[in-house]
Symmetry: C3
């Protein structure tokens, strides 16, 4: 696939509002990452405020990391409004599959909001792919893996699906990309998944092709992760990795994000 | 105007409780900044707890960044109690003007709590100045700018008003000060506005002249921002700026905060 | 007392889920500290989700820093379930004694959940020891200090009690340990108490002896605090201390945590 050539340049020129309905654990990281890449983050916890804000947003990020009954209702209502207005909605199904509450919430958001992009870790995507496919009367393949699950889920719901991990997979149901690179440190701090969802919201607000936007956003996190780990001095651990990751995202340029040698067709 | 000479020294000797009713995005930053300057932060989300805590506080900071109906009621009730006890209340009208919910909430807090100091960015203060003045039957001047808006709002409500931006303005309705300095990095991380409100709460708890306290607090953030940006090593970006900003606030002394060459009468 | 020899090694091999019902101020710090020591943090704000998650947890950490009526009910219900399943529950009674709401909440959690380990600062533990002992018809000694309070509270409730401060005390009601070391910087950032509770949850999930687990966890924070303060470069203040503290925890090994010269029988 072909990489967007000036996505970050365009994003930073537009500074779109990236509307977040997200969790309390990593909300500060998501705000700072959004700013670092070039978006303008907004977070809200009031139903009416969130609904009106959707009208001004360049993209909406829904993250169910610490959802409850009230915030779930808000996510669905605001998500439907944003989709109805043709705005990209990124859904991060944090912990989908782990508990009954999360299983049901993830499936409701998936089917009622119809997100533009679903981005989860491999376990979350495997759960959704299995459940979503099962709901439609198609058996999930027991040997299913992330590379196949992204395609199945994308086809079943007509969206772009990304599964993150040491190797990432992104699919629009027709094409699937495999992304290599990154650094093991990315799994040693909280919120890199949530931050990737925020970066995906930024990229989707700047680039109309949701598949390209998702690949680009994940590549941003992988390249920044490599730079952050590479910059660690002796005696520095995960604390400095977090800081250097934010440094690296703020210093990324489109030239750092070439697909050659990193992004492959599956 | 004349700068307080030993505000930080007094603050650090007293360590007043700085009571926060604030948002979930930057609450950790506000707590750490309060500690770094010399106050003792307390945050609470229970109505009764917040109300009792107001009695022990040196100052109250109300920040409506992620308000909802319940927290708005709490802000008003606790704010009125604090004012009734003669305690300084700092109000940060985050996003005032952006949505109906925020417009109404900001005006209710302004009129029902009657904060000692209102500190917002220029857009927020321009909205409040326009609305507040309009409510009183006086036309807002279409050519109004932040320098005039702080004075109008201060006069209309009998409070001190600060509008932050590349240049900051603070007014008590009679006198207006213009503050220069700071660094562009301050706009590239989330929460510097919220943190400035916390610093303002600290300064107001240590200095009875609310006008001087607001100017001093904003100057703390500007000087710390300059020091933090100046300390950045090659390859460091917004991640390290955040850390170095907290470093710099914790290392500020009264001698760093002279008004000459930074604070001017308008 | 004898130190566990391979607690961190075992913890990192097991990576137990450390379930948190905690406050919004330091929740991100608690998640990152849990990861840094070797646990897998999970935070949730939904009643049903929290209850089911207790079944999968290696330990539960209850922190009442920003409790309200709803979260208090959840803490008690989920805490009772975890105890009923024989899982270690760590309780951090943040601000116990400060307000009526907090006094009542702390005593309810103490008596209804019956936590495995109660870890607070000296003021919190002195309040609980006085109140709990008074409830049982035994007079609190007016000359009570932290060293005695931990033993009294531990005896009254059949749990392990830790009181943190420049010197820490841990007791199981029979034996009391005094811990020395640490650094004054630990009191200059928000959340070191909360983070210590998270580390205690990690250690309790890896080590069946709750007394040894609590001592080990507090020692982790003291040793990491010393390393972080020692690593500060000129011009670095509390911002870098926070980062270097997380660095240091992530780089701790069992060999750093010998009890000799640090942990004494009282």
């Amino acid at each position: 696939m072909k990489a967007p050539t000036e996505l970050l340049k365009n994003l930073r020129a537009k500074r779109p509002l990236i509307h977040h309905l997200t969790n309390v654990v990593t909300v500060n990281d998501c705000a700072n990452m959004t700013l670092a890449l070039g978006g303008a983050p907004v977070m809200t916890e009031d139903d009416g405020d969130a609904l009106e804000m959707a009208g001004y947003a360049g993209a909406l990020v829904i993250n169910m990391g610490t959802l409850d009954a009230r915030s779930l209702g808000r996510m669905i209502e605001v998500g439907r409004k944003a989709r109805g207005m043709g705005k990209p909605v990124v859904f991060d199904p944090v912990g989908a599959g782990a508990t009954k509450v999360r299983r049901e919430a993830a499936l409701r958001i998936l089917t009622e909001v119809k997100p533009t992009i679903v981005k989860g870790n491999a376990a979350e995507i495997l759960f959704l792919a299995g459940a979503a496919v099962a709901q439609k009367g198609v058996d999930a393949d027991a040997s299913d893996d992330a590379a196949k699950a992204v395609g199945r889920l994308a086809q079943a719901h007509g969206c772009v699906v990304a599964a993150t991990g040491p190797i990432d997979y992104v699919s629009d149901g027709k094409h699937t990309a495999r992304l290599e690179g990154g650094d093991g440190y990315l799994a040693r701090i909280t919120g890199t998944g949530c931050m990737t969802a925020s970066l995906t919201g930024c990229c989707a607000a700047a680039e109309g092709d949701a598949f390209a936007a998702a690949v680009y956003a994940i590549l941003c996190m992988k390249v920044a992760g490599e730079k952050a780990a590479g910059a660690l001095a002796p005696g520095e651990g995960v604390g400095h990795f977090r800081i250097r990751l934010l440094d690296a995202v703020s210093l990324l340029h489109d030239g750092d994000l070439r697909f050659e040698g990193r992004v492959y067709d599956v």
